[in-house]
């Protein structure tokens, strides 16, 4: 059974007339890394909220279709059970720090205390999270005294320690400088190796191409494409969808260099090989 099953999902925020999600259907297998792309108003954040249960429980509004996460029907299940199964991390690190804890260590414990875990289990999970997110050296510092990248990693740690089956990240690096972004991508890579299913909305297409197993492309509340990075970034209509492919793919397209699959490469090494083959063919 797929870990995520979305069927004809429709959603409209309260006091609005336009659908924020219009008939979205897709499924995700356990352990997959799905990149979520599309222009700013396409519906990526709303989809992230829908996968974690905040739509409809926190945002209310008009809801149609169904979302199943790890066997739980999002609409009919209590929101705290859904968020325990599908953790959400979003753009602004500052507003994800609870503010009621004075050290990073205790901050990570927040969600675990709410889950009612026994003390030794909590400590075990916090220690794991400190290493997974590379924040051990700041464990006694006040979360508000950290850099953007560090704060975001603490926010992720707080969610990951709850051991959700799915981790949803909504543009987690867009407010960070390059160093902070690198730190976050590195830990996301660690997390994929742990077997967590990851959904990440991003504008940095190079990173999506590097990490994603499949890419989900949204525009105007609808699902436009759901395929491998190569396939999606090789589309002819990307510009009209407000998406710029990775530089390698753009260059390959202008040169007309397709792979055997018929798609343009997203990886520099592959482009090099294609050019070398062509060079060899020409003698």
């Amino acid at each position: 059974m797929s870990i995520i099953e979305v069927k004809d999902l429709k959603y409209r925020y309260p006091d609005t007339t336009k659908l924020a999600l219009d008939g979205i259907s897709f499924s995700v297998e356990q352990g997959e890394f799905i990149g979520l792309i599309g222009r700013n108003t396409a519906g990526k954040s709303t989809l992230c909220y829908a996968l974690s249960g905040l739509v409809p429980h926190f945002f209310k509004g008009a809801y149609g279709g169904s979302v199943e996460i790890a066997g739980l029907n999002v609409r009919t299940t209590d929101v705290s059970e859904v968020t325990a199964a599908a953790g959400l991390v979003f753009e602004n690190p500052f507003s994800q720090i609870t503010g009621s804890r004075f050290t990073v260590y205790e901050e990570i414990a927040f969600g675990l205390e709410n889950m009612g875990l026994p003390r030794d289990e909590m400590i075990k999970r916090i220690e794991e999270a400190l290493d997974l997110l590379d924040i051990r050296k700041v464990k006694d510092k006040n979360p508000f005294d950290l850099s953007g990248g560090q704060m975001q990693r603490v926010a992720i740690a707080g969610v990951v320690a709850m051991k959700p089956k799915v981790l949803i990240l909504d543009e987690p690096t867009s407010q960070l400088d390059p160093q902070g972004s690198e730190e976050v991508f590195k830990v996301v890579e660690n997390l994929t190796k742990e077997g967590i299913t990851i959904i990440m909305a991003e504008q940095k297409m190079e990173k999506i191409a590097q990490y994603a197993d499949r890419v989900l492309l949204l525009d105007d509340a609808k699902l436009i494409a759901y395929d491998t990075p190569e396939a999606v970034f090789s589309r002819d209509d990307l510009a009209s969808l407000g998406v710029q492919p990775p530089a390698v793919t753009a260059i390959a397209r202008h040169l007309g260099k397709r792979k055997a699959t018929g798609h343009y490469p997203v990886d520099l090494e592959e482009l090099k090989m294609l050019l070398a083959e062509e060079g060899a063919a020409h003698g």
């Binding site: 929101v79 953790g87 979003f90 500052f94 609870t98 004075f102 709410n114 875990l117 003390r119 909590m122």
Partner: protein
Amino acid sequence: MDAMTLYVPRNSPIHRLDPLTKMLYIVVSIAAAYLLDGLWEVAAVMIISFGILLIGKVFRNILPVIALSFLLILSIVIVQGFFNPANETLLFELGPIKFYQEGLVIALRLTMRVINMVCAFGVLVLTTSPTELVERLQQKGMSPKIGYVILSVLQIIPQLRATYAKIQDAQRARGMETEGSLLVRVKAFFPLLGPVILNALNDTRERAIALDVRGFDRDTPKTYLNEAKSYRYSVLLNVLLLLILAGLIVWRVMG
């Protein structure tokens, strides 16, 4: 940026007391200062509070707070010493101002009561970490949501100060004057306060989402990372304090 707390970590017997005992002490000490009338008796209550702060090694830290309430104390002394209708016995004159004995006695008593109140609160606030206080209250049944509000206010208000500085920069950069006449400052009020409030509201909304994700709304009984401290003599001290309070009330009622 430091959290907005007066807590001073030290190794003292007072620090090791049950926060609930300290809260009870505040009630008993303030009540005692008001139930007793004689100047010496009220002074004794105040000196006991001083003593506890000294044992807690935090006496020095209460002095700035007393200094802050100095203005209040000064106004009490002036009003009572000068204007009290029961004034009869003239003690001394300072230029045109006459100070009467009755008024000064009342002022002195009131001043000691105020200082005692500040010190009693100090016993709790200076020697108890906010986390310990909130967790103890939650153990006794206070809702974790209230505990959250108490603790987060302590941290988030200082953060607002940093945001305020950035807001001031942004508005000045748009040509807004912030220095100068009263009119100028009044005009600057909304452009400065507006973003502070809007920022805080927006931030609160996003934080509410983050809290939900971390299970804040869950019905499951909460557990604690920090081990519940066992406080020595807690029951003994609480009973003692309650007896003192009861005794004072009875004594007062009896005449």
